[in-house]
Protein backbone atom coordinates (compact mmCIF):
# COMPACT_ATOMS: atom_id res chain seq x y z
CA UNK A 1 0.00 0.00 0.00
CA UNK A 2 2.74 2.48 1.02
CA UNK A 3 4.77 1.24 -1.90
CA UNK A 4 1.86 1.76 -4.29
CA UNK A 5 1.34 5.25 -2.83
CA UNK A 6 4.96 6.17 -3.56
CA UNK A 7 4.85 4.52 -6.96
CA UNK A 8 1.51 6.21 -7.70
CA UNK A 9 2.85 9.65 -6.78
CA UNK A 10 5.88 9.16 -8.98
CA UNK A 11 3.53 8.14 -11.78
CA UNK A 12 1.33 11.20 -11.30
CA UNK A 13 4.39 13.45 -11.45
CA UNK A 14 5.70 11.64 -14.51
CA UNK A 15 8.94 10.56 -12.81
CA UNK A 16 8.57 6.87 -13.61
CA UNK A 17 10.05 5.13 -16.63
CA UNK A 18 7.02 4.40 -18.81
CA UNK A 19 8.43 1.35 -20.64
CA UNK A 20 5.59 -0.39 -22.44
CA UNK A 21 3.12 2.25 -21.26
CA UNK A 22 4.89 4.96 -23.21
CA UNK A 23 2.60 7.62 -24.63
CA UNK A 24 3.07 7.19 -28.38
CA UNK A 25 2.88 10.00 -30.92
CA UNK A 26 2.03 9.38 -34.56
CA UNK A 27 5.40 10.69 -35.79
CA UNK A 28 7.49 8.54 -33.43
CA UNK A 29 10.05 6.30 -35.09
CA UNK A 30 11.09 3.14 -33.24
CA UNK A 31 14.43 1.38 -33.42
CA UNK A 32 13.18 -1.98 -32.39
CA UNK A 33 14.79 -5.35 -31.81
CA UNK A 34 14.90 -8.20 -29.40
CA UNK A 35 17.68 -7.45 -26.87
CA UNK A 36 21.27 -8.25 -27.95
CA UNK A 37 20.53 -7.96 -31.66
CA UNK A 38 22.58 -4.92 -32.55
CA UNK A 39 20.14 -2.33 -31.23
CA UNK A 40 22.83 -0.11 -29.68
CA UNK A 41 24.92 -0.14 -32.83
CA UNK A 42 21.84 0.78 -34.87
CA UNK A 43 21.07 3.58 -32.45
CA UNK A 44 24.58 4.97 -32.89
CA UNK A 45 24.37 4.65 -36.68
CA UNK A 46 21.02 6.43 -36.85
CA UNK A 47 21.94 9.10 -34.28
CA UNK A 48 25.14 9.84 -36.17
CA UNK A 49 23.17 9.98 -39.40
CA UNK A 50 20.39 12.20 -38.06
CA UNK A 51 22.52 14.55 -35.96
CA UNK A 52 25.92 14.81 -37.71
CA UNK A 53 26.87 17.80 -35.53
CA UNK A 54 26.56 15.85 -32.28
CA UNK A 55 28.75 12.72 -32.38
CA UNK A 56 26.86 10.02 -30.52
CA UNK A 57 28.41 8.58 -27.39
CA UNK A 58 27.23 6.75 -24.29
CA UNK A 59 26.61 10.01 -22.43
CA UNK A 60 24.19 11.45 -24.99
CA UNK A 61 22.70 8.42 -26.75
CA UNK A 62 19.69 8.29 -24.40
CA UNK A 63 18.95 11.89 -25.33
CA UNK A 64 19.44 11.44 -29.09
CA UNK A 65 17.51 8.17 -29.25
CA UNK A 66 15.52 7.97 -26.00
CA UNK A 67 14.89 4.70 -24.18
CA UNK A 68 11.48 4.50 -22.41
CA UNK A 69 13.02 2.03 -19.96
CA UNK A 70 15.71 4.52 -18.94
CA UNK A 71 14.11 7.97 -19.27
CA UNK A 72 11.18 9.32 -17.26
CA UNK A 73 7.74 9.94 -18.70
CA UNK A 74 8.28 13.65 -18.19
CA UNK A 75 11.61 13.69 -20.03
CA UNK A 76 10.13 11.68 -22.88
CA UNK A 77 7.20 14.09 -23.22
CA UNK A 78 9.61 17.02 -23.60
CA UNK A 79 11.81 15.50 -26.28
CA UNK A 80 11.89 17.29 -29.63
CA UNK A 81 9.80 15.58 -32.29
CA UNK A 82 9.96 13.42 -34.23
CA UNK A 83 11.44 11.20 -31.55
CA UNK A 84 13.65 8.27 -32.54
CA UNK A 85 12.88 5.81 -29.77
CA UNK A 86 14.82 2.71 -28.79
CA UNK A 87 12.66 -0.26 -27.89
CA UNK A 88 12.68 -4.03 -27.34
CA UNK A 89 8.90 -4.36 -27.02
CA UNK A 90 6.98 -7.20 -28.60
CA UNK A 91 4.18 -6.16 -30.92
CA UNK A 92 2.45 -2.90 -30.06
CA UNK A 93 -0.13 -1.67 -32.60
CA UNK A 94 0.52 1.96 -31.67
CA UNK A 95 4.02 1.93 -33.14
CA UNK A 96 3.44 3.06 -36.73
CA UNK A 97 7.02 3.65 -37.96
CA UNK A 98 9.34 0.83 -37.05
CA UNK A 99 12.93 -0.06 -37.99
CA UNK A 100 13.20 -3.67 -36.87
CA UNK A 101 16.64 -5.22 -36.46
CA UNK A 102 16.75 -9.00 -36.40
CA UNK A 103 19.71 -11.25 -35.63
CA UNK A 104 20.37 -14.97 -35.78
CA UNK A 105 18.84 -16.24 -32.49
CA UNK A 106 21.80 -18.56 -31.95
CA UNK A 107 24.06 -15.51 -31.72
CA UNK A 108 21.45 -13.60 -29.71
CA UNK A 109 21.33 -16.38 -27.10
CA UNK A 110 25.11 -16.40 -26.81
CA UNK A 111 25.30 -12.63 -26.56
CA UNK A 112 22.62 -12.50 -23.88
CA UNK A 113 24.40 -15.23 -21.97
CA UNK A 114 27.53 -13.04 -21.79
CA UNK A 115 25.50 -9.91 -21.03
CA UNK A 116 23.89 -11.65 -18.05
CA UNK A 117 27.36 -12.58 -16.79
CA UNK A 118 28.25 -8.89 -17.09
CA UNK A 119 25.18 -7.92 -15.11
CA UNK A 120 25.98 -10.51 -12.46
CA UNK A 121 22.78 -12.46 -13.18
CA UNK A 122 24.78 -15.55 -14.14
CA UNK A 123 27.92 -16.73 -12.40
CA UNK A 124 31.07 -17.34 -14.39
CA UNK A 125 31.08 -20.99 -15.32
CA UNK A 126 27.26 -21.20 -15.63
CA UNK A 127 26.81 -23.62 -18.53
CA UNK A 128 25.23 -22.17 -21.70
CA UNK A 129 23.25 -25.39 -22.14
CA UNK A 130 21.34 -24.51 -19.00
CA UNK A 131 20.76 -20.95 -20.16
CA UNK A 132 19.40 -21.79 -23.61
CA UNK A 133 16.22 -23.62 -22.47
CA UNK A 134 15.28 -20.56 -20.41
CA UNK A 135 16.02 -18.37 -23.41
CA UNK A 136 13.77 -20.52 -25.63
CA UNK A 137 10.98 -20.41 -23.06
CA UNK A 138 11.12 -16.61 -23.06
CA UNK A 139 12.04 -16.41 -19.39
CA UNK A 140 15.16 -14.29 -19.78
CA UNK A 141 13.55 -10.98 -20.83
CA UNK A 142 10.25 -9.18 -20.31
CA UNK A 143 9.92 -8.83 -24.10
CA UNK A 144 8.57 -12.27 -24.98
CA UNK A 145 10.74 -15.01 -26.40
CA UNK A 146 12.88 -14.28 -29.45
CA UNK A 147 10.34 -16.09 -31.64
CA UNK A 148 7.33 -14.35 -30.12
CA UNK A 149 8.94 -10.96 -30.54
CA UNK A 150 10.07 -11.48 -34.13
CA UNK A 151 7.02 -13.39 -35.37
CA UNK A 152 4.60 -10.90 -33.82
CA UNK A 153 6.17 -7.97 -35.65
CA UNK A 154 6.77 -9.73 -38.95
CA UNK A 155 3.31 -11.30 -39.15
CA UNK A 156 1.64 -7.94 -38.77
CA UNK A 157 4.01 -5.55 -40.47
CA UNK A 158 6.51 -7.12 -42.85
CA UNK A 159 6.27 -5.68 -46.37
CA UNK A 160 3.86 -3.00 -45.22
CA UNK A 161 4.49 0.73 -45.26
CA UNK A 162 6.06 2.09 -42.07
CA UNK A 163 8.17 -1.01 -41.46
CA UNK A 164 11.83 -1.54 -42.35
CA UNK A 165 13.42 -4.90 -41.64
CA UNK A 166 17.20 -4.98 -41.18
CA UNK A 167 19.31 -8.05 -40.54
CA UNK A 168 22.24 -7.51 -38.20
CA UNK A 169 24.29 -9.83 -40.42
CA UNK A 170 23.61 -7.62 -43.48
CA UNK A 171 24.64 -4.59 -41.47
CA UNK A 172 27.94 -6.27 -40.59
CA UNK A 173 28.49 -7.09 -44.24
CA UNK A 174 27.85 -3.58 -45.53
CA UNK A 175 26.74 -1.04 -42.97
CA UNK A 176 26.61 1.83 -45.47
CA UNK A 177 24.27 -0.09 -47.77
CA UNK A 178 21.88 -0.84 -44.92
CA UNK A 179 22.10 2.69 -43.52
CA UNK A 180 21.13 3.93 -46.97
CA UNK A 181 17.85 2.06 -46.57
CA UNK A 182 17.36 3.71 -43.19
CA UNK A 183 18.01 7.14 -44.74
CA UNK A 184 15.32 6.66 -47.36
CA UNK A 185 12.96 5.25 -44.70
CA UNK A 186 13.52 8.40 -42.63
CA UNK A 187 13.40 10.59 -45.74
CA UNK A 188 16.93 11.90 -45.21
CA UNK A 189 18.81 12.64 -48.44
CA UNK A 190 21.10 9.61 -48.93
CA UNK A 191 24.31 11.64 -49.02
CA UNK A 192 27.21 9.15 -49.38
CA UNK A 193 29.63 11.15 -47.27
CA UNK A 194 27.16 11.69 -44.47
CA UNK A 195 26.44 7.97 -44.40
CA UNK A 196 30.13 7.03 -44.49
CA UNK A 197 30.80 9.39 -41.58
CA UNK A 198 27.98 7.89 -39.54
CA UNK A 199 29.31 4.38 -40.21
CA UNK A 200 32.86 5.38 -39.24
CA UNK A 201 31.76 7.07 -36.03
CA UNK A 202 29.71 4.03 -35.03
CA UNK A 203 32.37 1.40 -35.73
CA UNK A 204 32.76 -1.29 -33.06
CA UNK A 205 36.28 -0.05 -32.21
CA UNK A 206 35.00 3.49 -31.70
CA UNK A 207 32.19 2.22 -29.50
CA UNK A 208 34.62 0.10 -27.47
CA UNK A 209 36.79 3.18 -26.87
CA UNK A 210 33.74 5.15 -25.76
CA UNK A 211 32.57 2.31 -23.52
CA UNK A 212 35.95 2.30 -21.72
CA UNK A 213 35.67 5.94 -20.76
CA UNK A 214 31.88 6.25 -20.36
CA UNK A 215 30.50 2.92 -19.15
CA UNK A 216 29.52 4.43 -15.79
CA UNK A 217 27.52 7.21 -17.47
CA UNK A 218 25.11 4.99 -19.37
CA UNK A 219 21.94 3.35 -18.01
CA UNK A 220 22.66 -0.05 -19.56
CA UNK A 221 26.25 -0.44 -18.32
CA UNK A 222 26.16 1.49 -15.04
CA UNK A 223 26.67 -0.81 -12.06
CA UNK A 224 27.61 -3.84 -14.13
CA UNK A 225 30.87 -5.82 -14.21
CA UNK A 226 33.43 -3.72 -16.02
CA UNK A 227 35.62 -6.72 -16.89
CA UNK A 228 32.95 -8.06 -19.29
CA UNK A 229 32.38 -5.59 -22.12
CA UNK A 230 28.94 -4.45 -23.38
CA UNK A 231 30.22 -3.97 -26.93
CA UNK A 232 31.40 -7.51 -27.44
CA UNK A 233 32.48 -9.42 -30.55
CA UNK A 234 30.26 -7.45 -32.99
CA UNK A 235 30.41 -10.49 -35.28
CA UNK A 236 28.06 -13.12 -36.59
CA UNK A 237 28.40 -16.87 -36.24
CA UNK A 238 29.99 -16.89 -32.78
CA UNK A 239 27.46 -19.56 -31.82
CA UNK A 240 29.34 -22.11 -33.94
CA UNK A 241 32.08 -22.26 -31.32
CA UNK A 242 30.32 -20.70 -28.34
CA UNK A 243 27.21 -22.88 -28.10
CA UNK A 244 27.06 -26.64 -27.56
CA UNK A 245 25.32 -28.58 -30.35
CA UNK A 246 22.43 -29.60 -28.14
CA UNK A 247 21.65 -25.95 -27.44
CA UNK A 248 21.77 -25.12 -31.14
CA UNK A 249 19.39 -27.99 -31.86
CA UNK A 250 17.00 -26.70 -29.24
CA UNK A 251 16.95 -23.19 -30.70
CA UNK A 252 16.37 -24.54 -34.19
CA UNK A 253 13.62 -26.89 -33.04
CA UNK A 254 11.71 -23.98 -31.56
CA UNK A 255 12.17 -21.42 -34.32
CA UNK A 256 13.50 -23.20 -37.40
CA UNK A 257 10.66 -21.97 -39.62
CA UNK A 258 11.25 -18.35 -38.65
CA UNK A 259 15.00 -18.69 -39.05
CA UNK A 260 14.60 -20.14 -42.53
CA UNK A 261 12.23 -17.32 -43.42
CA UNK A 262 14.91 -14.84 -42.37
CA UNK A 263 17.64 -16.64 -44.31
CA UNK A 264 19.51 -18.20 -41.37
CA UNK A 265 20.81 -21.58 -42.42
CA UNK A 266 19.99 -24.41 -40.07
CA UNK A 267 22.52 -26.85 -38.70
CA UNK A 268 19.87 -29.52 -38.08
CA UNK A 269 17.11 -28.86 -40.63
CA UNK A 270 15.62 -32.32 -40.12
CA UNK A 271 15.11 -31.85 -36.40
CA UNK A 272 13.07 -28.70 -36.75
CA UNK A 273 9.57 -29.19 -35.40
CA UNK A 274 7.59 -26.46 -37.04
CA UNK A 275 4.70 -25.07 -35.08
CA UNK A 276 2.25 -24.63 -37.90
CA UNK A 277 4.82 -22.84 -39.98
CA UNK A 278 2.45 -22.54 -42.90
CA UNK A 279 0.22 -20.16 -41.01
CA UNK A 280 3.12 -17.99 -39.99
CA UNK A 281 4.65 -18.09 -43.46
CA UNK A 282 1.42 -17.00 -45.08
CA UNK A 283 0.88 -14.16 -42.70
CA UNK A 284 4.50 -13.12 -42.91
CA UNK A 285 4.06 -12.15 -46.48
CA UNK A 286 1.19 -9.81 -45.65
CA UNK A 287 -0.66 -8.25 -48.56
CA UNK A 288 -0.56 -9.78 -51.96
CA UNK A 289 1.18 -7.61 -54.44
Amino acid sequence: MIQRLIHGTRRALGLHHPGRNLEVWPDDVFILSFPKSGNTWTRFLIANLMYPDTPADFSNINRLTPDPEASSKRELARMPRPRIIKSHQYFDPRYKRVIYVVRDPRDVALSQFHFYRKRGLLEDGYPPERFVPRFVAGETTPYGSWGENVAGWLATRQNRPGFLLLRYEDMLEDAARELNKVASFLEIPPDAERIANAVRRSAADEMRKLEKSQARLWSSTKGTRQDVPFVRAAKSGGWRTGLPEAAVAQLEAAWGHLMKHLGYELLFPARTTNFDSQFVETMLNGLSR
Binding site: R4, R11, S145, A155, T156, L284, R289
Partner: protein, 291 residues
Protein backbone atom coordinates in the same frame (compact mmCIF):
# COMPACT_ATOMS: atom_id res chain seq x y z
CA UNK B 1 -4.15 18.64 -9.29
CA UNK B 2 -7.20 17.23 -7.46
CA UNK B 3 -7.52 14.80 -10.34
CA UNK B 4 -3.87 13.85 -9.88
CA UNK B 5 -4.30 13.15 -6.16
CA UNK B 6 -7.39 11.10 -6.91
CA UNK B 7 -5.41 9.09 -9.44
CA UNK B 8 -2.59 8.48 -6.96
CA UNK B 9 -5.06 7.29 -4.34
CA UNK B 10 -6.90 5.05 -6.77
CA UNK B 11 -3.62 3.53 -7.83
CA UNK B 12 -2.42 3.11 -4.23
CA UNK B 13 -5.68 1.42 -3.29
CA UNK B 14 -5.59 -0.75 -6.39
CA UNK B 15 -8.77 0.81 -7.77
CA UNK B 16 -7.23 1.41 -11.19
CA UNK B 17 -8.45 -0.77 -14.07
CA UNK B 18 -6.13 -3.78 -14.34
CA UNK B 19 -5.97 -3.99 -18.16
CA UNK B 20 -2.47 -4.55 -19.46
CA UNK B 21 -1.01 -3.83 -16.02
CA UNK B 22 -2.77 -6.91 -14.63
CA UNK B 23 -0.48 -8.97 -12.40
CA UNK B 24 -0.50 -12.28 -14.24
CA UNK B 25 -0.12 -15.55 -12.29
CA UNK B 26 1.47 -18.72 -13.64
CA UNK B 27 -1.79 -20.69 -13.23
CA UNK B 28 -4.01 -18.14 -15.03
CA UNK B 29 -5.92 -19.15 -18.15
CA UNK B 30 -7.14 -16.46 -20.53
CA UNK B 31 -10.13 -16.46 -22.85
CA UNK B 32 -8.91 -14.09 -25.52
CA UNK B 33 -10.65 -12.81 -28.64
CA UNK B 34 -11.10 -9.67 -30.62
CA UNK B 35 -14.24 -7.90 -29.36
CA UNK B 36 -17.52 -9.10 -30.91
CA UNK B 37 -16.18 -12.57 -31.65
CA UNK B 38 -18.22 -14.67 -29.26
CA UNK B 39 -16.16 -14.03 -26.15
CA UNK B 40 -19.18 -13.59 -23.86
CA UNK B 41 -20.81 -16.76 -25.14
CA UNK B 42 -17.53 -18.65 -24.64
CA UNK B 43 -17.27 -17.20 -21.14
CA UNK B 44 -20.73 -18.46 -20.28
CA UNK B 45 -20.03 -21.88 -21.78
CA UNK B 46 -16.84 -22.23 -19.76
CA UNK B 47 -18.35 -20.82 -16.56
CA UNK B 48 -21.30 -23.21 -16.86
CA UNK B 49 -18.86 -26.06 -17.42
CA UNK B 50 -16.38 -25.23 -14.65
CA UNK B 51 -18.84 -23.93 -12.04
CA UNK B 52 -21.73 -26.25 -12.79
CA UNK B 53 -23.21 -25.94 -9.30
CA UNK B 54 -24.54 -22.41 -9.73
CA UNK B 55 -26.60 -20.63 -12.40
CA UNK B 56 -24.29 -18.34 -14.34
CA UNK B 57 -25.66 -14.88 -15.09
CA UNK B 58 -24.51 -11.35 -15.84
CA UNK B 59 -24.72 -10.73 -12.10
CA UNK B 60 -21.98 -13.23 -11.23
CA UNK B 61 -19.97 -13.71 -14.43
CA UNK B 62 -17.46 -11.08 -13.28
CA UNK B 63 -16.73 -13.19 -10.22
CA UNK B 64 -16.46 -16.48 -12.08
CA UNK B 65 -14.56 -15.29 -15.15
CA UNK B 66 -13.58 -11.67 -14.52
CA UNK B 67 -12.83 -9.16 -17.25
CA UNK B 68 -9.37 -7.66 -16.63
CA UNK B 69 -10.29 -4.61 -18.69
CA UNK B 70 -13.38 -3.82 -16.62
CA UNK B 71 -12.15 -4.69 -13.13
CA UNK B 72 -9.60 -3.08 -10.82
CA UNK B 73 -6.18 -4.42 -9.86
CA UNK B 74 -7.50 -5.04 -6.36
CA UNK B 75 -10.56 -6.91 -7.61
CA UNK B 76 -8.39 -9.12 -9.81
CA UNK B 77 -6.02 -9.77 -6.90
CA UNK B 78 -8.85 -11.07 -4.75
CA UNK B 79 -10.02 -13.68 -7.26
CA UNK B 80 -8.90 -17.05 -6.03
CA UNK B 81 -6.67 -19.06 -8.38
CA UNK B 82 -6.51 -20.76 -10.70
CA UNK B 83 -8.24 -17.82 -12.39
CA UNK B 84 -9.97 -17.89 -15.76
CA UNK B 85 -9.81 -14.36 -17.17
CA UNK B 86 -11.55 -12.72 -20.09
CA UNK B 87 -9.41 -10.52 -22.33
CA UNK B 88 -9.36 -8.79 -25.72
CA UNK B 89 -5.64 -8.06 -25.70
CA UNK B 90 -3.39 -8.59 -28.67
CA UNK B 91 -0.39 -10.76 -27.91
CA UNK B 92 0.83 -10.47 -24.33
CA UNK B 93 3.73 -12.77 -23.63
CA UNK B 94 2.90 -12.99 -19.93
CA UNK B 95 -0.32 -14.94 -20.56
CA UNK B 96 0.74 -18.52 -19.80
CA UNK B 97 -2.31 -20.36 -21.21
CA UNK B 98 -4.65 -18.98 -23.83
CA UNK B 99 -7.90 -20.08 -25.43
CA UNK B 100 -8.31 -17.84 -28.48
CA UNK B 101 -11.68 -17.40 -30.19
CA UNK B 102 -11.60 -16.07 -33.73
CA UNK B 103 -14.51 -15.04 -35.94
CA UNK B 104 -14.91 -14.07 -39.59
CA UNK B 105 -13.86 -10.39 -39.61
CA UNK B 106 -16.70 -9.55 -41.99
CA UNK B 107 -19.16 -10.62 -39.27
CA UNK B 108 -17.05 -8.96 -36.59
CA UNK B 109 -17.30 -5.68 -38.50
CA UNK B 110 -21.12 -5.87 -38.70
CA UNK B 111 -21.45 -6.76 -35.03
CA UNK B 112 -18.94 -4.11 -33.94
CA UNK B 113 -20.85 -1.49 -35.92
CA UNK B 114 -24.02 -2.17 -33.94
CA UNK B 115 -22.08 -2.33 -30.67
CA UNK B 116 -20.43 1.04 -31.41
CA UNK B 117 -23.86 2.57 -31.95
CA UNK B 118 -25.05 1.05 -28.67
CA UNK B 119 -22.07 2.61 -26.89
CA UNK B 120 -22.58 5.89 -28.80
CA UNK B 121 -19.01 5.67 -30.06
CA UNK B 122 -20.20 6.51 -33.57
CA UNK B 123 -23.12 8.50 -34.91
CA UNK B 124 -26.32 6.51 -35.22
CA UNK B 125 -26.48 7.20 -38.94
CA UNK B 126 -22.78 6.50 -39.66
CA UNK B 127 -22.74 4.62 -42.99
CA UNK B 128 -21.57 1.03 -42.57
CA UNK B 129 -19.04 1.43 -45.37
CA UNK B 130 -17.40 4.37 -43.64
CA UNK B 131 -17.29 2.41 -40.39
CA UNK B 132 -15.62 -0.54 -42.07
CA UNK B 133 -12.94 1.72 -43.53
CA UNK B 134 -12.04 2.91 -40.03
CA UNK B 135 -12.24 -0.66 -38.74
CA UNK B 136 -9.75 -1.91 -41.33
CA UNK B 137 -7.33 1.02 -41.18
CA UNK B 138 -7.31 1.07 -37.38
CA UNK B 139 -8.57 4.60 -36.77
CA UNK B 140 -11.52 3.72 -34.50
CA UNK B 141 -11.60 3.18 -30.75
CA UNK B 142 -11.50 -0.54 -31.48
CA UNK B 143 -7.89 -0.19 -32.68
CA UNK B 144 -6.87 -0.03 -29.02
CA UNK B 145 -7.02 -3.83 -29.34
CA UNK B 146 -4.96 -3.65 -32.53
CA UNK B 147 -6.78 -4.31 -35.79
CA UNK B 148 -8.56 -7.64 -36.19
CA UNK B 149 -5.60 -9.08 -38.14
CA UNK B 150 -3.03 -7.71 -35.69
CA UNK B 151 -4.88 -9.24 -32.78
CA UNK B 152 -5.33 -12.74 -34.19
CA UNK B 153 -2.05 -12.57 -36.14
CA UNK B 154 0.19 -11.84 -33.16
CA UNK B 155 -1.34 -14.65 -31.11
CA UNK B 156 -1.18 -17.17 -33.96
CA UNK B 157 2.36 -16.22 -34.93
CA UNK B 158 3.62 -16.47 -31.37
CA UNK B 159 1.68 -19.39 -29.96
CA UNK B 160 -0.19 -21.49 -32.53
CA UNK B 161 0.55 -25.19 -32.26
CA UNK B 162 1.81 -25.04 -28.67
CA UNK B 163 0.08 -27.15 -26.02
CA UNK B 164 -0.74 -24.02 -24.01
CA UNK B 165 -2.75 -22.48 -26.88
CA UNK B 166 -6.17 -23.51 -28.16
CA UNK B 167 -7.71 -21.87 -31.21
CA UNK B 168 -11.49 -21.95 -31.60
CA UNK B 169 -13.50 -20.56 -34.48
CA UNK B 170 -16.80 -18.95 -33.55
CA UNK B 171 -18.32 -20.54 -36.65
CA UNK B 172 -17.33 -24.04 -35.48
CA UNK B 173 -18.71 -23.27 -32.04
CA UNK B 174 -22.06 -22.46 -33.64
CA UNK B 175 -22.04 -25.41 -36.01
CA UNK B 176 -21.11 -28.03 -33.43
CA UNK B 177 -21.01 -26.61 -29.93
CA UNK B 178 -20.75 -30.01 -28.28
CA UNK B 179 -17.56 -31.02 -30.10
CA UNK B 180 -15.89 -27.66 -29.59
CA UNK B 181 -16.81 -27.48 -25.93
CA UNK B 182 -15.36 -30.96 -25.45
CA UNK B 183 -12.05 -29.57 -26.77
CA UNK B 184 -12.31 -26.73 -24.27
CA UNK B 185 -12.99 -29.16 -21.43
CA UNK B 186 -9.87 -31.15 -22.34
CA UNK B 187 -7.87 -27.91 -22.51
CA UNK B 188 -8.96 -27.12 -18.95
CA UNK B 189 -8.27 -30.71 -17.87
CA UNK B 190 -11.94 -31.27 -17.05
CA UNK B 191 -13.55 -34.68 -17.53
CA UNK B 192 -17.02 -33.74 -18.78
CA UNK B 193 -19.74 -36.22 -19.69
CA UNK B 194 -21.91 -35.53 -22.77
CA UNK B 195 -24.73 -34.69 -20.37
CA UNK B 196 -22.64 -32.10 -18.55
CA UNK B 197 -21.59 -30.57 -21.86
CA UNK B 198 -25.22 -30.37 -23.01
CA UNK B 199 -26.28 -28.72 -19.80
CA UNK B 200 -23.54 -26.10 -20.07
CA UNK B 201 -24.61 -25.44 -23.67
CA UNK B 202 -28.27 -25.13 -22.72
CA UNK B 203 -27.49 -22.72 -19.90
CA UNK B 204 -25.49 -20.54 -22.30
CA UNK B 205 -27.89 -20.46 -25.25
CA UNK B 206 -28.38 -17.17 -27.10
CA UNK B 207 -32.04 -17.06 -26.08
CA UNK B 208 -31.15 -17.57 -22.44
CA UNK B 209 -28.44 -14.89 -22.61
CA UNK B 210 -30.94 -12.50 -24.24
CA UNK B 211 -33.37 -13.09 -21.40
CA UNK B 212 -30.63 -12.49 -18.85
CA UNK B 213 -29.55 -9.32 -20.63
CA UNK B 214 -33.08 -7.95 -20.42
CA UNK B 215 -33.26 -8.68 -16.72
CA UNK B 216 -29.71 -7.87 -15.67
CA UNK B 217 -28.36 -5.49 -18.31
CA UNK B 218 -28.07 -2.69 -15.76
CA UNK B 219 -26.24 -4.94 -13.28
CA UNK B 220 -23.39 -5.85 -15.64
CA UNK B 221 -20.39 -3.57 -16.03
CA UNK B 222 -20.30 -4.01 -19.83
CA UNK B 223 -23.92 -3.05 -20.53
CA UNK B 224 -24.67 -0.68 -17.64
CA UNK B 225 -25.78 2.82 -18.72
CA UNK B 226 -25.71 1.91 -22.39
CA UNK B 227 -28.51 2.22 -24.94
CA UNK B 228 -30.92 -0.60 -24.23
CA UNK B 229 -32.67 -0.41 -27.62
CA UNK B 230 -29.65 -2.09 -29.24
CA UNK B 231 -28.94 -5.46 -27.59
CA UNK B 232 -25.46 -6.58 -26.51
CA UNK B 233 -26.25 -10.15 -27.50
CA UNK B 234 -26.47 -9.77 -31.27
CA UNK B 235 -27.69 -12.19 -33.91
CA UNK B 236 -25.46 -15.02 -32.58
CA UNK B 237 -25.17 -16.34 -36.12
CA UNK B 238 -22.50 -16.74 -38.76
CA UNK B 239 -22.57 -15.18 -42.22
CA UNK B 240 -24.78 -12.18 -41.57
CA UNK B 241 -22.27 -10.04 -43.50
CA UNK B 242 -23.43 -11.64 -46.74
CA UNK B 243 -26.74 -9.80 -46.59
CA UNK B 244 -25.60 -6.66 -44.78
CA UNK B 245 -22.13 -5.58 -45.90
CA UNK B 246 -21.77 -3.43 -49.06
CA UNK B 247 -19.50 -4.95 -51.73
CA UNK B 248 -16.86 -2.26 -51.34
CA UNK B 249 -16.62 -2.98 -47.61
CA UNK B 250 -16.17 -6.71 -48.23
CA UNK B 251 -13.47 -5.92 -50.73
CA UNK B 252 -11.65 -3.64 -48.32
CA UNK B 253 -11.61 -6.25 -45.55
CA UNK B 254 -10.48 -9.02 -47.87
CA UNK B 255 -7.78 -7.01 -49.55
CA UNK B 256 -6.30 -6.02 -46.19
CA UNK B 257 -6.60 -9.32 -44.34
CA UNK B 258 -7.26 -11.94 -47.02
CA UNK B 259 -4.21 -14.09 -46.32
CA UNK B 260 -4.91 -14.33 -42.62
CA UNK B 261 -8.60 -15.00 -43.29
CA UNK B 262 -7.83 -17.76 -45.76
CA UNK B 263 -5.50 -19.43 -43.28
CA UNK B 264 -8.30 -19.44 -40.73
CA UNK B 265 -10.66 -21.01 -43.24
CA UNK B 266 -12.76 -17.97 -44.12
CA UNK B 267 -13.52 -18.13 -47.80
CA UNK B 268 -12.79 -15.01 -49.81
CA UNK B 269 -15.34 -13.76 -52.31
CA UNK B 270 -13.57 -10.79 -53.92
CA UNK B 271 -10.06 -12.17 -54.45
CA UNK B 272 -7.96 -15.27 -54.22
CA UNK B 273 -5.56 -15.85 -51.37
CA UNK B 274 -2.07 -16.57 -52.58
CA UNK B 275 -0.87 -20.07 -52.07
CA UNK B 276 2.01 -20.46 -49.68
CA UNK B 277 4.21 -21.62 -52.55
CA UNK B 278 3.57 -18.43 -54.53
CA UNK B 279 4.40 -16.37 -51.50
CA UNK B 280 7.57 -18.25 -50.70
CA UNK B 281 8.68 -17.81 -54.30
CA UNK B 282 7.92 -14.10 -54.14
CA UNK B 283 9.91 -13.79 -50.94
CA UNK B 284 12.88 -15.61 -52.44
CA UNK B 285 12.86 -13.15 -55.36
CA UNK B 286 12.80 -10.23 -52.94
CA UNK B 287 15.66 -11.69 -50.96
CA UNK B 288 17.75 -12.16 -54.07
CA UNK B 289 17.15 -8.60 -55.09
CA UNK B 290 18.32 -7.62 -51.62
CA UNK B 291 15.11 -5.81 -50.77
Amino acid sequence: MIYGIKQVLNYALGRDIAGRTLAVRPDDTFIVSYPRSGNTWTRFLIANLLFAGQPVSFANIELLIPDAEAQSSRYMKRIRGPRVIKSHQYFDHRYPKVLYVTRDPRDVAVSYYNFSRKYRHIADDCPLEQYVHGFVTGTLLSSGWGTWAENVGTWMAARNGRPTFLLLRYEDLIADTQTELAKVARFFGVDATPGELSRAIENSSADHLRELEKKEGEAWVTTKNKRSDIPFIGSAAAGKWKSVLPGAAIEEIESAWGNTMAQLGYELVTRKAESVETQLAAMAVLRERGE
